[in-house]
């Protein structure tokens, strides 16, 4: 073939010998980045309220969780693509942000998980060699029955002693785009977060929105609560990630950046290094709570989201529940300059899953200069101030 081309070239040369008629067309191109979506099997589970879709072959990454009755996708989502820079640099990439199990410090790996067990509302995914940490890993996901919860339990068996940081579960959640989310990152003040490549001090214990001065795009917090949340007034829903680990051993992390041309901000927890048995087995669990009707989540107590709205002296407390709960006794206090003023005790009517109940209290003055605390069926809650 090459000879024919050479012959053709020579012929064209002879034909065009009255130079400079002979011209070679410039057609070679430089490499450029190209994306191609790759097919990857999806697996879905469903409850009365939620539909969850994931890609077992892409580290079991959750593509999305949809609030069924309003058809609201809650996560950023993603897909498997092939990224190429010419024929030599071709790699699969989880494009977007799929919600999968990760370990802090360990690089991300696309692990091929298989569905080990599944039912209508639960799935167990298995991978014999998961992630850079090199571990046998099973991810159990269960949608709460008659609840707006997603429950995660992860069992892991490391194939060898993991390096420092390589066994710290990293819950890395990117809420959906175009929701105008308000972020609630409860951070402890005056406390350093060490050992994560940075050291951050925040002046006060508060709910940070993420735009902390000097914090830049990446922000580490000593967490003040075991949860982090986002609320959308635009869509009327809040989403929280919550765990049961000691706060002093956890780090709350948030990262803001441009994803596919849109700004997004993560809510993330870095859990403590796992306690492993002799066979290097360990496990962890956490949950996602979804609160329809909640638009500025400020506290979570007994899996009930709490927020408030103030109108003059009137303070309307709003309570959203992920499951059906009986009537609750609510006591409320105003904390001002070290003084607690009781605002009253009332009964919150029984709530259905996904519904919001309201109670109204009167403030001593129109200007709310302190913080609100209270009890919900005897369990204390304390609404942190907000730092934008």
């Amino acid at each position: 073939m090459a000879r024919y081309i050479a012959l053709f070239f020579l012929c064209s040369f002879i034909a065009g010998c009255s130079c400079p008629a002979m011209k070679v067309k410039h057609t070679a191109t430089e490499e450029k980045e190209e994306l191609l979506e790759l097919a990857s099997d999806r697996h879905s589970i469903e409850s009365k309220f939620l539909k969850l879709t994931l890609f077992p072959g892409v580290s079991g990454g959750i593509e999305n969780i949809v609030l069924k009755d309003q058809n609201i996708p809650l996560l950023w989502g993603g897909k498997l693509v092939q990224v190429s820079n010419g024929p030599l640099v071709v790699r699969p990439q989880a494009f977007g942000v799929l919600f999968s199990e990760k370990f802090w410090r360990a690089g991300e790996v696309i692990s091929n998980m298989s569905v080990q067990k599944s039912s209508a509302d639960s799935v167990s995914l298995y991978c014999p060699e998961y992630g850079t940490s090199s571990a046998e890993l099973i991810r159990h996901i269960t949608l709460g029955k008659d609840e707006l919860t997603v429950n995660f339990k992860v069992d892991v068996k490391f194939l060898k002693e993991p390096r420092k940081g390589y066994s710290s579960p990293w819950l890395n959640l990117m809420p959906a785009r175009d929701m105008d989310w308000v972020t609630a990152l409860p951070g402890r003040g005056n406390e350093a977060v060490n050992g994560l490549g940075t050291k951050t001090y925040f002046p006060a214990t508060a709910i940070y929105r993420g735009g902390v001065k000097g914090g830049g795009q990446n922000t580490y917090f000593a967490p003040a609560r075991p949860w982090a949340a986002v609320s959308s007034a635009k869509k009327g829903v809040a989403l929280a990630i919550i765990h049961d680990y000691p706060l002093e051993k956890c780090t709350l992390y948030s990262w803001k950046g441009h994803y596919e041309g849109t700004v997004g901000r993560t809510i993330e927890f870095i859990l403590p290094e796992l306690k492993l048995d002799k066979e290097l087995r360990g496990s962890w669990n956490y949950r996602l709570l979804i609160f329809p009707g909640i638009t500025d989540l400020r506290e979570i107590c007994n899996d009930i989201a709490i927020e408030y709205r103030q109108n003059g002296k009137m303070l309307t407390m709003r309570f959203g529940s992920v499951r059906k709960v009986p009537a609750q006794k609510v006591e409320l206090f105003l904390n001002e300059k070290g003084k607690n003023t009781a605002l009253g005790a009332k009964t919150l009517a029984a709530l259905d899953a996904g519904k919001v109940g309201e109670l109204t209290f009167e403030l001593p003055q129109e200007k709310l200069s302190g913080t609100i605390s209270g009890t919900l069926n005897g369990k204390a809650f304390n609404i942190l101030p907000v730092v934008d």
């Binding site: 090459a2 070239f9 410039h26 070679a28 690089g107 790996v109």
Partner: protein, 934 residues
């Protein structure tokens, strides 16, 4: 009569108008008030003018016409702009007009002046503007880039990337350029385009000076017009390279023994140095990172030694592991000042020159402990954070325990001390060079020192007078090159490696090609660096990122994908003329195999325009051009698994003034049929899959008849012969320019067997055959003759001697020891059996020996030659001897071949290597520069 008068009027300017003329651009009709006409051979004529804007009155200065004087292809105009005296000298610089504009302030007050050039350029439909960072389509909006703060994609750590100092307007067929000579000491440059009409636009370029009373300063502006035959802005940038090559030529020159090789990426600095490992990786220098206790006190002064760092405790960091900890940890909690100096000196004196330790001087003389700044150098602080720069690194940087604050190392109290300290460390440590970090522009110093009218680069903006950080960097480079060791030959002056965008001797890019950040910066950064050598300092293949599903794939699939990434790394090195480190070399035998050719390309100098049209059916292809004229080398890479047939058309007029012939560059032999058509050279070639292919120019001819020319090469270590067979039906004459082959004597030229001594008007009879024969200056024997030297005895054991003169100096003895280290490496890696390399001062009777002579005066005896069992290595001094021994060892490597296997690196985790059983292994070498035929 009237007709005659009007004819005379029309001719008068032509008759009287002197001009500065180049083949591509001419400037003429220079008026006493600074007006001019720029014209091109394509018949385009544009009016332009010199203007001066007053930064205090915010008005353009009124020009009082002066006079124009003509010289030898120069035109000089002098006039007054307001009260300032302006002189502009126009002269020719290869492809561009140089306009040296001198401003003199005769007043008793400081003035703010912004002199500039303008040009009314013709508009076309699809026009564009290149602002020094990026190209923009013209959409009727004014475009301007000013200052050194950089574009959003080029912010770099503590500083910003310098722009290409050009403002280019054009379309796909041509470009017009105004600019300034890059890396001159300016703090404000501005280029833009505005005043759009249907037919014209105004292209302008200016520089600012805050000029003290009775002071003068000179700006070097440039004017260009080029045809856009290959690419867009690339053509103007190439014209700038061609016109000012000295700006992209390493100061320490071709004979420096460090900068033309790869760097160690801490392989020698942090770990126990191993010369053979270093050399076989083609490494010759290393980043000697932060060898000081206190940021801002690089020397280690008694009065600054005892202090409490602002971050609380002293930390050890890298310093703990210097040269593998051989001289103990530099534990600042315990180390006395005396022991610090003693130990650091021991490190550098033992390894510094052998491993090219480039001293890291607190970034680039730009960081100082914040406490020290406040107590000793308050005038030196550079607090500018505009654009995203950081002024104080509160959690530390260079030494982990100081809060590094940015300082300005020019004209300040810190600068005074820092310049002294550079001399102190240079002398105490016998340094081969310096490594600068964050060496760039874009941070503006406005402290007390700017009041000194005599500092260079004083400019102004709305906040007052300032000097850009880049000016201080350039001044530092000049000091290091010119003042630290002024009596040393250029090759032995301290070299400067810089991470940043200033024009040092060698540039660092802190990104691997597998990092998206690399592609964000390229090719723009390469445009800035021109033909300077570049090294990549990055995390290798980033395999968990590049093969993110590695847990799920087979070994076969892993090796297939790894092979592609490795070939890509090889191509990127040739594409951009850069070397890397073990992070990319371990496991990649082919990239190491190709290093000798790559290093030669880098010496020739990367060029932005490769003037070759190539029809390959629109497929992706990697390409680059190195060198100019008859010393051109073209690189091509086919990334596909199948061969790629392609046709090539070389536009010789862009390479130089002659018609050039090419042959594939191979180590043994090659041939290629060139077809000449007018001034163009054509050839066909089928690019093999995934190997670099080089075409070397062989010779330039003032002209050649159209037709086929067969070019072939036959190479040996000691001799290269190029044969050119013309198929000319009738005789012709031409001036010829044979290419230069580095380390070889100039070509011996013969036509039809008859020697040619005068290379002008050479006669070529019908069907002439010309040969160019080059004899090596370095090697007098063939590779087989050198490598058949009996280094080993019959039992395959090392068994020879190295003989040094009876009065051998320590350098000679050290180089003799290199042979012992060479075979220690071979034995360790099972390339031969253990034996002995004896180092003797007298000739042995019973064994082969290498004779070292590094005081040879007779040029004819220089080099490596073998006679029986004696291998003589002769150089005029030990510096040249070092290079010769290194080159000899690289030849010996072809007999004692070794490729490094892959080990765990930043870019490759241990788990992955173990899963795929690839630890210590490498992919098969592709011997792409040898035919394999004997």
């Amino acid at each position: 009569m009237r007709k005659k008068l009007s004819l005379l009027t029309a001719l008068l300017p032509l008759l009287l108008s002197a001009a500065v003329e180049l083949p591509e651009v001419k400037i003429s009709d220079i008026t006493p008030s600074g007006g001019y006409t720029v014209s091109t051979p394509q018949g385009i004529s544009m009016n332009g003018a010199v203007y001066v804007h007053n930064g205090k009155t915010k008005k353009y200065e009124v020009i009082t016409p002066g006079k124009v004087e003509s010289g030898d292809n120069t035109e000089t105009v002098t006039f007054k702009a307001g009260q300032a005296d302006i002189t502009v000298k126009f002269s020719a610089r290869t492809r561009m007009i140089l306009a040296e504009l001198t401003v003199y302030n005769p007043t008793d007050k400081e003035v703010f002046l912004e002199p500039g050039l303008s040009l009314t350029v013709p508009r076309t439909e699809k026009d564009y503007f290149y602002d020094g960072y990026a190209k923009f389509p013209i959409d009727g909006k004014n475009r301007e880039r000013a200052g050194f703060k950089g574009g959003p994609s080029v912010a770099h750590l503590a500083v910003f990337a310098a722009p290409v100092s050009l403002a280019i307007y054009g379309d796909s067929s041509r470009s017009f350029t105004l600019g300034s000579v890059m890396y001159d000491k300016y703090s404000y440059i501005c280029g833009g385009v505005n005043k759009f009409t249907k037919d014209n636009a105004n292209l302008y370029y200016s520089c600012r000076t805050a000029l003290g009373p009775k002071r003068k300063t000179t700006f070097r502006f440039i004017i260009g017009a080029v045809e856009n035959k290959f690419g867009w802005e690339e053509n103007s940038i190439q014209a700038m390279y061609d016109s000012f090559p000295e700006k992209w030529t390493p100061y320490v020159g071709q004979d420096n023994k460090y900068i033309w090789y790869a760097h160690g990426m801490y392989r020698a600095w942090t770990y126990k140095p191993d010369y053979e490992v270093f050399r076989r990786y083609f490494m010759a220098w290393d980043w000697a990172y932060a060898p000081y206790k206190r940021s801002g006190d690089i020397y280690g002064h008694k009065e600054l030694w005892n202090y409490k760092p602002l971050l609380g405790k002293f930390r050890l960091g890298y310093i703990n592991q210097i040269v593998g900890g051989e001289f103990g940890p530099f534990d600042w909690n315990k180390l006395s000042l005396e022991d610090f100096h003693k130990n650091r000196k021991a490190v550098f004196h033992k390894y510094g020159k052998k491993f090219g330790f480039a001293f890291y001087p607190t970034a680039s003389g730009t960081f100082c402990d914040w406490g020290l700044v406040q107590s000793n150098y308050p005038d030196s602080f550079l607090p500018d954070t505009k654009g995203g720069a950081t002024a104080i690194y509160k959690t530390g940087w260079t030494n982990y325990h100081d809060q590094d604050a940015r300082v300005f190392p020019l004209g300040t109290s810190f600068a005074k001390q820092f310049y002294k300290d550079l001399k102190l460390v240079y002398d105490e440590l016998d340094l081969p060079g310096f490594s600068f970090d964050c060496s760039g522009s874009g941070c503006y110093y406005r402290g007390p020192a700017v009041k000194n009218y005599d500092l260079p680069g004083r400019a102004y903006d709305n906040e007052g007078v300032y000097i850009d950080a880049g000016v201080a960097q350039t001044a530092l480079f000049e000091y290091i090159h010119e003042k630290l060791d002024p009596d040393a030959p250029l090759r032995e002056r301290p070299f400067i490696a810089a991470n940043g965008t200033m024009n040092s001797d060698v540039i660092m890019i802190e990104r691997t090609p597998f990092d998206r950040g690399f592609h964000d910066k390229m090719p723009q950064w390469r445009y800035t660096f021109g033909s300077l050598p570049i090294i990549i300092h990055g995390k290798g293949y980033m395999l968990p990122y590049m093969i993110p599903d590695w847990r799920s794939i087979t070994r076969k699939e892993f090796l297939k994908r790894l092979g592609k990434l490795m070939d890509y790394a090889t191509f990127v090195q040739f594409r951009y003329g850069m070397t890397s480190s073990a992070q990319l070399y371990a496991g990649n035998a082919t990239i190491l195999y190709t290093m000798p050719e790559l290093l030669e390309c880098i010496r020739l100098g990367w060029q932005v325009v490769n003037p070759v049209a190539c029809d390959n059916g629109g497929k992706v292809m990697y390409q680059a051009r190195y060198g100019r004229k008859e010393n051109t080398v073209l690189f091509y890479g086919n990334p596909y698994d199948e061969p790629m047939p392609a046709q090539y058309e070389v536009s010789n007029d862009i390479l130089g003034k002659d018609v050039y012939l090419f042959v594939r560059q191979m180590r043994d032999k090659a041939n290629l049929t060139n077809t000449i058509g007018g001034r163009q050279t054509f050839f066909n070639f089928e690019l093999p899959s995934r190997i670099p292919v080089l075409f070397e120019a062989v010779c330039g001819f003032s002209s050649l008849p159209d037709g086929d020319v067969d070019v072939s090469s036959a190479k040996e270590l000691n001799k290269q012969v190029f044969t050119i067979k013309f198929n000319n039906a009738s005789s012709f004459t031409a001036d010829i320019k044979p290419r230069e082959v580095r380390t070889f004597a100039p070509a011996q030229v013969a036509v039809n067997g008859r020697m040619v001594t005068d290379l002008n008007n050479v006669e070529f009879p019908e069907n002439a055959v010309m040969t160019l024969t080059y004899n090596s200056n370095d090697f007098k024997n063939t590779q087989d003759e050198i490598n058949s030297f009996p280094f080993l005895n019959a039992k395959n054991q090392v068994d020879f001697a190295v003989v040094v003169p009876a009065d051998a100096d320590k350098e000679t003895l050290a180089l003799a020891d290199n042979f012992r280290e060479y075979f220690d490496f071979c034995v360790k890696n099972k390339l031969c059996k253990a034996g002995k390399v004896q180092i003797l001062r007298s000739i042995p009777k019973d064994k082969p020996y290498i004779l070292l002579n590094f005081k040879e005066k007779d040029p004819a005896k220089l080099g490596v030659s073998r006679k029986g069992n004696v291998l003589t290595v002769a150089a005029k001094d030990s510096y040249a001897g070092d290079i010769l021994v290194r080159n000899l060892c690289h030849i010996m490597d072809r007999r004692f071949e070794y490729f490094f296997g892959m080990g765990p690196t930043d870019g490759c985790p241990t788990d992955m290597l173990e899963k795929f059983n690839f630890r210590g292994k490498y992919l098969p070498v592709k011997r792409c520069f040898e035919t394999g035929d004997k």
